[in-house]
Symmetry: D3
Subunit: 269 residues, 6 copies
Amino acid sequence: MYLPHQRWPELGEYVANESLAVVPLGSTEQHGPHLPEGTDHMIAEALAREASERTGYLCTPPITVGVSSHHRQFHGTMWVEPSVFRDYVESLSRNLTYHGIDRIVYVNAHGGNVAHLREVGQRLHDDGTAYAIEWMWDESIPELIEEVFETPGPHGGPKETAMIMHLAEELVREDRLEDARDGGVTFDADAARVHGATTFYDCIDNSPNGVFGDQTDATPEIGAELFEAATEQLVSLLEWLDEQPFADLMPDPHVDPQPGSGRERDGAR
Amino acid sequence: MYLPHQRWPELGEYVANESLAVVPLGSTEQHGPHLPEGTDHMIAEALAREASERTGYLCTPPITVGVSSHHRQFHGTMWVEPSVFRDYVESLSRNLTYHGIDRIVYVNAHGGNVAHLREVGQRLHDDGTAYAIEWMWDESIPELIEEVFETPGPHGGPKETAMIMHLAEELVREDRLEDARDGGVTFDADAARVHGATTFYDCIDNSPNGVFGDQTDATPEIGAELFEAATEQLVSLLEWLDEQPFADLMPDPHVDPQPGSGRERDGAR
Amino acid sequence: MYLPHQRWPELGEYVANESLAVVPLGSTEQHGPHLPEGTDHMIAEALAREASERTGYLCTPPITVGVSSHHRQFHGTMWVEPSVFRDYVESLSRNLTYHGIDRIVYVNAHGGNVAHLREVGQRLHDDGTAYAIEWMWDESIPELIEEVFETPGPHGGPKETAMIMHLAEELVREDRLEDARDGGVTFDADAARVHGATTFYDCIDNSPNGVFGDQTDATPEIGAELFEAATEQLVSLLEWLDEQPFADLMPDPHVDPQPGSGRERDGAR
Amino acid sequence: MYLPHQRWPELGEYVANESLAVVPLGSTEQHGPHLPEGTDHMIAEALAREASERTGYLCTPPITVGVSSHHRQFHGTMWVEPSVFRDYVESLSRNLTYHGIDRIVYVNAHGGNVAHLREVGQRLHDDGTAYAIEWMWDESIPELIEEVFETPGPHGGPKETAMIMHLAEELVREDRLEDARDGGVTFDADAARVHGATTFYDCIDNSPNGVFGDQTDATPEIGAELFEAATEQLVSLLEWLDEQPFADLMPDPHVDPQPGSGRERDGAR
Amino acid sequence: MYLPHQRWPELGEYVANESLAVVPLGSTEQHGPHLPEGTDHMIAEALAREASERTGYLCTPPITVGVSSHHRQFHGTMWVEPSVFRDYVESLSRNLTYHGIDRIVYVNAHGGNVAHLREVGQRLHDDGTAYAIEWMWDESIPELIEEVFETPGPHGGPKETAMIMHLAEELVREDRLEDARDGGVTFDADAARVHGATTFYDCIDNSPNGVFGDQTDATPEIGAELFEAATEQLVSLLEWLDEQPFADLMPDPHVDPQPGSGRERDGAR
Amino acid sequence: MYLPHQRWPELGEYVANESLAVVPLGSTEQHGPHLPEGTDHMIAEALAREASERTGYLCTPPITVGVSSHHRQFHGTMWVEPSVFRDYVESLSRNLTYHGIDRIVYVNAHGGNVAHLREVGQRLHDDGTAYAIEWMWDESIPELIEEVFETPGPHGGPKETAMIMHLAEELVREDRLEDARDGGVTFDADAARVHGATTFYDCIDNSPNGVFGDQTDATPEIGAELFEAATEQLVSLLEWLDEQPFADLMPDPHVDPQPGSGRERDGAR
């Protein structure tokens, strides 16, 4: 159920019976010479809407601009400050609870958003407002990705290339796949640490053309396979979440002894 | 040129030569029993992309959730706090200037965003960062609207109904147009003042079903006419803006006499 | 009852029985070569105190500096950032509720404050703290203004000139009325739109001397007439507001079906 | 020169030649059963305008609501949060520099504002924007106050009573002076410390009727004497400030050795 | 009981029975050519831990960087903005209440922190969260300080020198005590006022080497005496605080008549 | 060189020649029944001071309270809100640059701080203020940790136990090591994902006693070995950082073509 396409009476029926929503989030940022800048939000929206359609759960419109300043040296990258992104997602999520939505899955396709979505989720969780968690498509199917690609690459690599080939093939510049591979690098963030420290801040510090991995391994068929596998994971997550008693999703109480319990027991004060 | 569909080398060519971008903004909020909640952002995106296609100017992805708390009593309405909305649009706009974009038209289709977009534009203008202005489609063609409808209504009325009929007819519940009209009201904000004061804050204070006007006057053909007329206005605005010398778009200097000029002239201090 | 002139026991009697206060707000900004910069806050204070005296309702001291950066190119214009203005008014208003004041009329005489006072009022309304509304004197008597002046002008024109002639004639430079008219312009904000967009941010963009309209039409007698008419409107508004049940001033509940009502009905979960 | 009473051409002449402004600030808060709640801002405005008139320096309109939550238990006390007060004063001051005003004296008559005005002054000073200092009338004439009163009291005592008797005698309830004295206390903040700590937060913790000292010692004649003496101090301060070279008012540079100076000297790097 | 040295089961026993904590705060800032920059936080931590050890009350780890921009011209001075300092202390304090700690003594050894700790304490007090007060060691023993030193000096003088001689003699450059005295000044902040105004913002405005007073009077023995005397004051304060009923530490109610009480009494509305 | 133990003249010599500082950060939070709550900040401070002593680089005092709300259900856990933590570290770091310190290593021993220190580092990096990076001790020696422990555990496990045994053996409750192991769990955050999502927010969701791993494997000797190995890594990192040209640490420029370059080349405009 795609919220922007519904009218309010239909949505009233939904919230009378359900409390779960899916919020797609991505970014608009460079993805190399071969992929469109909307890659992340297009993937997030496609997965969220597909899972929503299969399950009937509510899907909101996507948030298309996220935390991407580390890609800013490349043309077209859009971004907002991290604090602004967090506040936007928090405000939007908090207001959904007015309609009874208190279980949210942030369907995310941009690594730079992860820590910020976790922080928003923690805020909503800590004060008992809602239970909101981040889900990143490629972290739900790590084995499959390892299996189908030799060098997946963390950004703009074959896994994103295959997904966009599946979703919007006309936006992939297939004539530049070799350039993408040759002008970028094969990168391992852990290996790149200097005496244990991550020393870079910007993508361009590691890759001259902004991408990583071997994009020539990507095909629309693999993209379809990834899309199907990730959608299944997301559907399972939504079903799991819907089944949890709400109390189980809220913070545990303080461990014993409770503050002040000794004073009361002793009759002191 | 739709930014999310381009790759960074193409965008590099654009910003080498151009400095203008179009940012579509709307809302996701109730539009009565007959129209989808995405009405405003769908209209904004459609107009912005059409004008962008005709002219070649850059169009960013849409911002789909705006300032709509006054519609919150109706199911599905999404919103962010006004300060959050302003900061999100400002951050996104300010960062576009990193790529040389310093002329922005906010293509807006939601009245609740207007004052906030003006405030963001003023911030960017006052410190000389960029020239960003708000454009609302129905304010560009007031005569035509007056001509084609008897009671246009400020929200969810025949003008928005016709536009969505033109853009996505399957999302309009035509079987509810009479309900929309009969359950809503014909409303005149100026006439509703109490001794000069606007005394309501929420849409529901004035309309039990959230909409105004006579929706039964809407047809897809009128929608197409409105869309074409508004697109032409937007195209003309973009062309006008591109022609202005940047200095003319920036703040005027302080009027004479300049502060301290007397001291300098007198040799004092 | 002017709060700054009362002692706390008298104010205790007031709040035991009443819950309404009037807060005058204006600006300190250029009003052309002929009018004093305090024009707006002087008008607001005079009207608020007069209505307070006639009705016995509480009147706070005036807020004299508002949102006026768009007049900054002219000497003497004072202003605070919009967010600062909103927070100041909100904090002051919210704290009045500690004494039981939960109905507030912002008696305003500066157009640049309107959107911000509406936003503050909405904040207080949305969380059920208080009911605060903005009232602008000239919007309460549009017919009279149309009747007595040929070209009223939105700022520094004959209506404000007449008011100050009535309230503090010695502060009006009557020898400069013709200069004011000839150095300024007759301005129509709607007509000035470019393809539907408002393209200016500063007053100086439209008027070289900062004012609009034909000031030579103003007389103290007309000022007295305007003052009396506006005072009567304000008195009526205060009486209307005092009569409303508080619940009617607070937000309506969510429309049916209530969130979660279906689950309860079905015994689900 | 009272800014609100001037027109912009006159203010242009002022700022062409001068860079100094006086900003009166007070509070609107309980001052016992005998004094009006506007006591502090009335005193501040009277002193600021008198000194401005004698010297010709610019005086802005007063800020009438300050940091007074510690008086909130008494009816009528108005206040804003400290952070809001600081931001309002800072924004207003910072914007004055656009007109060349970069020397400001905050003429203050409320103890609760002092620390906050110092903080604002430090912000403006630290980044080289302006030199703004706080001046509190009774701290400029401590010997005279000690001489004329036996028990001055820090709030609502004879010194403020005498001042208001001088400025607006009709607002003093002289029939309640003995009540004020008898229902309040003689208070010494230093003596009230508990093992070195200030343990109270609210005025009511120390005084049941909100005031301190012996108000029966006050007369209009003493008020006139205090007013004259404090005005003379303020005039002297303004003249002193106007004479200082601006560079002397700005922060000193870092002490030697300058950071990095050794590297440069050694030719290192 | 030093919190960082305990394990959570031990702390559980504590909070079951107690509600008091001591938070040491100082600064890291220049203290002249002879004293280490950690002087203030070392003194605060030593006193807090000693009193904690003697009484068994909980002591948190120290906050070592405070509000010190007025010492920034001297090498090594660290500081945070005042608003950041307040928020850090407030957040830390507010979160302690989750464990039942609602009585806090800020053991402070830096004058520049005082106003900010008072503001934090007021926030916590005003909303009924906790009772937190500031205690500054030298203000608890003014007579003793007057007795043992001729010219104590407000910063870097003999009192702090003696304390560090007692606590960490190896960190005092005794060979520079005469330099400290001769290169600094004997300073009286009240005497330094200009017509009643405090005109300086930075320490360097008054002292070329950053310190005040005659440091050559300091000895480790005097330091031990001061330390013992201040510890005793702090112990007494903690015992006093523990004995107060919590309700007595919270804000008083509004004075009568209560807002709205007249309306209820009259049966109005 | 430990900043709090130095006097300003010594620090002047340092900053004349050097631009690097080490800032230790940890947390004060539950570390199970056996380890003290200061575990993280004690480890961070010990490593930072040791590396500072070996190399001569400047070490600031530690920040002892960080982002730990996810441990709040266990007694004694202290924390500040993430935004407050970031602002405190940013303000402190930014102000160090006033003394010429523009290379900072955050020596961190608390996983909950990592993302926030990265965000602060990015802010300082993006605007060219300073180069500040986060270093976490256990991430510098992953192979050694794998080698010496069978089940290291992410929090309160054998690696932290061994470190505190080495640094402050008296604070480890060795009699509770088996309880720590048996009451906690062996945990793998990746394995705990639900269909790819991290579904927990609090430590207590995964471990009833707050810790993970097998603590009985820890010995002081292993602690000494870890400490030495991590110190060596940190020393190497500091030396590496000192050798980098500052320009190499700052952001790369925008990739070509530069915005507007085409217009200039064409002589357009």
